[in-house]
């Protein structure tokens, strides 16, 4: 089976992922691609405990890229979680074939401007969004399954390629 959800969310595993998306799509595995968490056994254990019913794998970009093809052939569906657009772009550049990327939560930080209630971007984010779009990755803003997905470029024209 293939990917069920590929998502950018700075909270990584949390309620929307476990309860809303997980309750709807029932992933067998959740891949969290995050260099910092992957290097911290305590953080890995915490994330692994957060999603009962799914196997949580906390890995580096390099590990995820190497496992990409195998995941597509594994039984059961999977979620991919990254904390920002930079990790997503690095993963795509490393060979991950992502067609559609869900933007589920990028919260406010200094220098970021509001796109909607749960997406805030700065110029570096927008440059990465443009690079992903140029590589053919669809960027859809949607926090929970019951919300209507909206193209990022429609909500934030500055994120669209020139």
């Amino acid at each position: 089976m293939s990917w069920l959800l590929q998502r950018v969310d700075d909270r990584l595993i949390h309620g929307q992922v476990v309860v809303a998306w997980g309750g709807r799509l029932h992933p067998a595995r959740i891949w969290v691609v995050d260099e910092r968490a992957a290097s911290d056994p305590w953080e890995k254990d915490l994330l692994a405990s957060a999603a009962p019913g799914a196997e949580v794998r906390v890995v580096t970009v390099a590990t995820m890229a190497a496992a990409w093809r195998g995941e597509a052939e594994a039984p059961g569906g999977a979620f991919l979680l990254v904390r920002d657009l930079g990790v997503a772009l690095t993963l795509v550049e490393a060979g991950a074939a992502i067609e559609r990327l869900n933007l589920g939560g990028l919260h406010y930080a200094p220098g970021k401007t509001k796109v909607n209630e749960y997406i805030y971007l700065d110029e570096a984010d927008r440059a990465r969004a443009r690079a992903l779009l140029a590589r053919g990755v669809a960027l859809e803003v949607q926090d929970v399954p019951g919300a209507r997905p909206e193209p990022l470029a429609a909500l934030d024209p500055a994120s669209a390629p020139a």
């Binding site: 700075d10 909270r11 990584l12 595993i13 949390h14 309620g15 476990v18 309860v19 305590w42 953080e43 915490l46 994330l47 957060a50 999603a51 009962p52 919260h107 406010y108 930080a109 209630e117």
Partner: protein
Amino acid sequence: MSSGAKTGWGLVPRTPALLVTHSDLADALLRAAEKVYGAVEGVEVMSNEGLSREELEQAIGRRVADWHEGGLVLTDFWGGSCHLCGVAAARGHGDVVVVTGINLPLLLDYLHNRDEYGPLALADRLIRRGRDSIRLHHGQTA
């Protein structure tokens, strides 16, 4: 005396609590508890609204930093950001423990017993009370 034991009549400091939930549930729970219990002092509430994981963890961490005898972080559900950030913030703070699945009976039991138990024993008690409060009442009573 162990912080996990029943302490008797105020022989050790009151076990503090922080309610951390989605939206304004924590505030609403505390207001509902006050309708039943009376005015409540010393319980803080927090929402995860609009906060990144790091911001929420830091906000919880600032509140539990002074709990030298431990305390309870009461959160809404397992696997949510309130739970995970609570656990991360409690790391290294001894008997600061996180309880998930808060409901009104659990909160009321906390208020009645926060001067009687240390954090670990109180957490055990609240988990039992919260579970026991969920019952099915079907049909006529005798």
